[in-house]
């Protein structure tokens, strides 16, 4: 498939964080991924070594995959060779995301986020955090 040109007058992005890309131009394939353990703990002490991805099945379970492409013969006629956009404002992009001005053949993005909150009064009754 032949790609169209993008004409963009103005873009402003405040924040691009955690495995996110902002790309101007064409590219073939992007495979961003992010693994996040977000822990909020009450109290002064925090032991970063105590947590690993292997502890949580969310980081090892499989994603569903698409069947291989090519099953449909598609023909695209671009009667106008450009995509025209005036102004773009993005406040933020986070955790294995993409912002692209231009064409992209394949995108395969994975994100796994585990939120944990550890409260002091709960720790006195139960030491498990899973």
């Amino acid at each position: 498939m032949n790609k169209r040109l993008v004409k963009l007058d103005d873009i402003k992005i405040i924040d691009v964080v955690y495995g996110t890309s902002f790309i101007i131009g064409d590219s073939h394939r992007a495979t961003p991924f992010a693994r996040v353990i977000a822990i909020q703990k009450e109290g002064a002490r925090f032991d970063e070594e105590a947590y690993s991805y292997e502890q949580f099945p969310l980081f090892t379970r499989q994603f569903k995959r698409l069947p291989p492409p090519g099953a449909v013969n598609d023909i695209h006629y671009h009667h106008n060779p450009t995509i025209n956009v005036g102004r773009v404002r993005v406040n933020g992009a986070s955790t294995s995301s993409m912002i692209q001005i231009g064409s992209l053949d394949e995108l395969d993005a994975d994100a796994r986020v585990k939120h944990i909150r550890i409260l002091q009064d709960e720790q006195e009754e139960n030491t498990g955090i899973d």
């Binding site: 698409l66 995509i83 404002r89 993005v90 933020g92 001005i101 064409s103 993005a109 939120h115």
Partner: protein
Amino acid sequence: MAFIVHNWGLHVGNVDITGISSSSVFLIGDNKQILLNSYFDTPAESLIIGPFVPLGTNSGTADNTVETTEDE
């Protein structure tokens, strides 16, 4: 099966996005295949403060106030 697409003119004015989060995409252009996967385990009682504090925009208006609510 024949799948034929006619792309006539495409003109967009303004785009305003607050957040693109967790395996998401904002693309201006042509594309062949997109595969987006996301797992999250977020307890309902979690306090979530995103990184998107709108610094420096709309200065001097009441929109600058960022509210975060924490449950009891």
